[in-house]
């Protein structure tokens, strides 16, 4: 018991010595370090293990990691609730390359092509895919915004040019969809679906027309 008291007191004193001159003034950090030290003191039988553990904790408490967290990019900065407003006549074009679609169709059975758009006031959008209007459009509310599911015509080929023509101002959801060093912020994508599969394609917006 005396040995444990001595070791624990020494641990507390060592951490206090970091606090006093201002080496580490983070009380939560010191409290957790002392808790770890206390547990090691109680569990470890050998002095060498106790010393090594205490040394590691002290070194860690002394080191101030200078490497900050990586730069954070906020997708919805300045937008209200991740929704970016566009004026009427702000036409948009997305070009989707349907990589491996035939292969997926063979695996998944008949795939129905949908254009999916997330935002608000979507009923004002006129949609065309390769110049053709959708077969059917459903707009459903989802989590304080709308989801447009536009069933596209068959036989679109291996590239789909999706054009959005708003008749009135509308809002497009901005999401943190990323891959590699590419960001795809606009809530617009294609989904080919069957009961077994979803095949999703992302593309960046090309220039506004």
């Amino acid at each position: 018991m005396k040995r444990n008291i001595a070791w624990f007191a020494a641990s507390a004193a060592a951490l206090a010595l970091l606090y006093a001159p201002g080496v580490n003034r983070n009380l939560f950090y010191l409290m957790f370090s002392l808790s770890c030290a206390g547990l090691i003191v109680v569990l470890a039988q050998r002095a060498r293990i106790r010393l090594a553990a205490l040394a590691l904790l002290l070194v860690a408490a002394t080191v101030s990691v200078s490497a900050p967290l990586p730069r954070r990019v906020q997708v919805d900065l300045t937008y209200e609730n991740s929704l970016k407003e566009y004026p009427a006549q702000a036409r948009m074009i997305f070009r989707f390359e349907l990589t491996e679609l035939e292969k997926r169709s063979a695996e998944c059975g008949g795939l129905q092509p949908y254009a999916m758009i997330v935002g608000r006031n979507l009923q004002t959008l006129d949609i065309t895919a390769n110049g053709k209007p959708p077969v059917k459009v459903d707009i459903v509310p989802v989590n304080e915004r709308l989801l447009m599911m536009a069933l596209l015509p068959e036989g679109l080929g291996s590239t789909v040019t999706l054009r959005l023509d708003p008749r009135e101002p509308f809002m497009l959801h901005q999401g943190p969809e990323v891959m590699g060093l590419d960001a795809y912020p606009d809530g617009v994508y294609l989904r080919f679906q069957s009961p077994k599969c979803h095949v999703v394609y992302h593309a960046k917006r090309t220039r506004d027309d």
Partner: protein, 468 residues
């Protein structure tokens, strides 16, 4: 087949399962993927439930919006200067609640690496550490609490496959850490600390409580687990292997030390919170109201036969907790692994050594769902089952170990039948964990059945392809 051969096979299986789980699931990000717009019902979360992403220079990486709270704690604990108090610690609904598991531990790892590990690698190491500790504790319990020589390999093998860990290797939120404190804390208290002097026992427990207080309320659950364990150990499980050599006097000392340690931990943590200006109460929930005031009012109305339709019991109005919520929690733990659930409960009947584990698992079941209860959330978190499941896994493993140990001179075919049953149950339970990842992700996050509706999801970003 000799016992030595069986042990060798189990050793190999254990090593293979540990390696496989790390290899297969170590690189997967499940905390965000389950909220993506690929799944029906989540279309609004384009890119996932997030607002931002990291720029690592060679790639962008999105992270779950709720992880921001934990990253703020991590940042605060990377820093040697005192945090700015309320400004330095993110005070969302997580608040400081996971400051040890998702703040201090990753910060300690990153400090010891002198900043060479990036934030994702740091959290991977922290999560792996919790996983390894759980596996190690299961091995120790298997050795100490069961007479057979096999449970010490079966229990850690099952724990190694448990999706609460394997889904969360890359988690920032580290929601499940309290279950590791409970399991390891129980072992340390019962097997190690009990043999020490009173000061050392109290010190060890106070340290455990201080750490687990900032790992999702683990300190309360650990104390509850100890109480349940001691009760079981000195009543119907007094003849179990884990209780051999344990007398009532040492348990009373342990209980006293636990209560004293809990009080010390509370006092110290409250003082530190006060100095650093981190409040002890969240804006999102009121623990005293939910667990005490309202629940006692309901109980009183129930006893007197008064109308309780406008009262709340454990966060839910009227009788809703009993009519709906308890069933929802039970379905969640059942579907986490039906083999383990049923096998664990059967172990209570057929395996005396499993009884303390199964009883404690049952005692912890409702309290472990405190997060859902506190915010009246109609959905079961998988990590709410974790403290109970870990104990059930060990109890279940004990039963399998007993089956493998049926004596050779038993009735004809009894030994081969028992061994076949053990192998089949082990294979079924581990197989269930290793397959159906979307089901397990769905079970972890509310079991709303959104995620596992679609068998195959293929996503293309230009020529880059990902499959789920």
């Amino acid at each position: 087949m000799t016992d030595a051969t069986i042990r060798r096979i189990l050793q190999v299986v254990l090593v293979l399962l540990v390696g496989w789980n790390l290899y297969a699931f170590g690189g997967k990000e499940h905390e965000l993927f389950t909220t993506k717009h690929y799944f029906s019902g989540w279309e609004a979360y384009y890119g996932g439930y997030a607002n931002e992403y990291f720029d690592y220079g060679d790639r962008y990486v999105t992270f779950n919006r709720e992880g921001v709270f934990n990253l703020s704690n991590f940042e605060s604990l990377q820093n040697n200067a005192p945090p700015k108090g309320r400004g330095g610690f993110m005070l969302g609904y997580d608040g400081a609640g996971r400051m040890f598991s998702s703040g201090f531990l990753p910060a300690l790892i990153q400090r010891l690496s002198f900043g060479t590990l990036n934030v994702h690698a740091t959290y991977f190491v922290a999560n792996s550490l919790f996983w390894i500790i759980a596996i190690g504790t299961a091995w120790l319990f298997g050795r100490r609490a069961f007479r057979d020589p096999f449970t010490r390999f079966l229990a850690p093998a099952l724990v190694a496959c448990y999706p609460v860990f394997t889904l969360m290797f890359n988690s920032f939120k580290v929601q499940y850490a309290h279950c590791v404190f409970i399991l390891a804390g129980l072992y340390l208290a019962h097997v190690v600390l009990r043999r020490l002097d009173l000061f050392s026992m109290t010190l060890g427990l106070a340290c455990l409580f201080a750490m687990s207080a900032f790992a999702g309320g683990g300190h309360v659950l650990l104390l509850a687990a100890l109480l349940a364990w001691l009760f079981a150990g000195h009543t119907f499980a007094r003849n179990s292997t884990v209780m051999s050599g344990v007398d009532g006097r040492s348990s009373m000392r342990l209980l006293g030390a636990a209560l004293a340690g809990f009080a010390i931990a509370l006092a110290v943590t409250t003082l530190v919170r006060y100095i650093q200006d981190v409040p002890n109460q969240s804006d999102y929930y009121d623990m005293r109201k939910v667990f005490l005031t309202d629940t006692l009012a309901y109980a009183k109305a129930w006893l007197t036969g008064a109308d309780r339709s406008e009262l709340t019991f454990l966060g839910f109005k009227g009788d809703r907790f009993f009519a709906e919520i308890l069933g929802m929690f039970t379905r969640s733990i059942f579907w986490s692994n039906p083999v383990v659930f049923c096998g664990g409960l059967l172990a209570f009947v057929f395996c005396r050594d499993a009884r303390p584990f199964v009883f404690t698992a049952v005692a912890l079941f409702v309290p472990s769902h405190a997060p859902e209860i506190l915010v009246s959330w109609v959905g079961a978190y998988g990590y709410g089952n974790a403290p109970s499941v870990l104990l059930l896994l060990i109890g279940f493993a004990g039963m399998l170990g007993a089956l493998l140990s049926v004596p050779r001179d038993s009735l004809v075919l009894m030994r081969p039948a028992a061994m076949v049953a053990a192998v089949a149950l082990f294979a079924a339970s581990t197989g269930y964990y290793l397959t159906g990842r979307k089901h397990h992700a769905d079970n972890y996050f509310f079991s709303w059945k959104n995620i596992d509706k679609i068998e195959n999801i293929h996503v293309y970003h230009g020529n880059r392809y990902t499959t789920y």
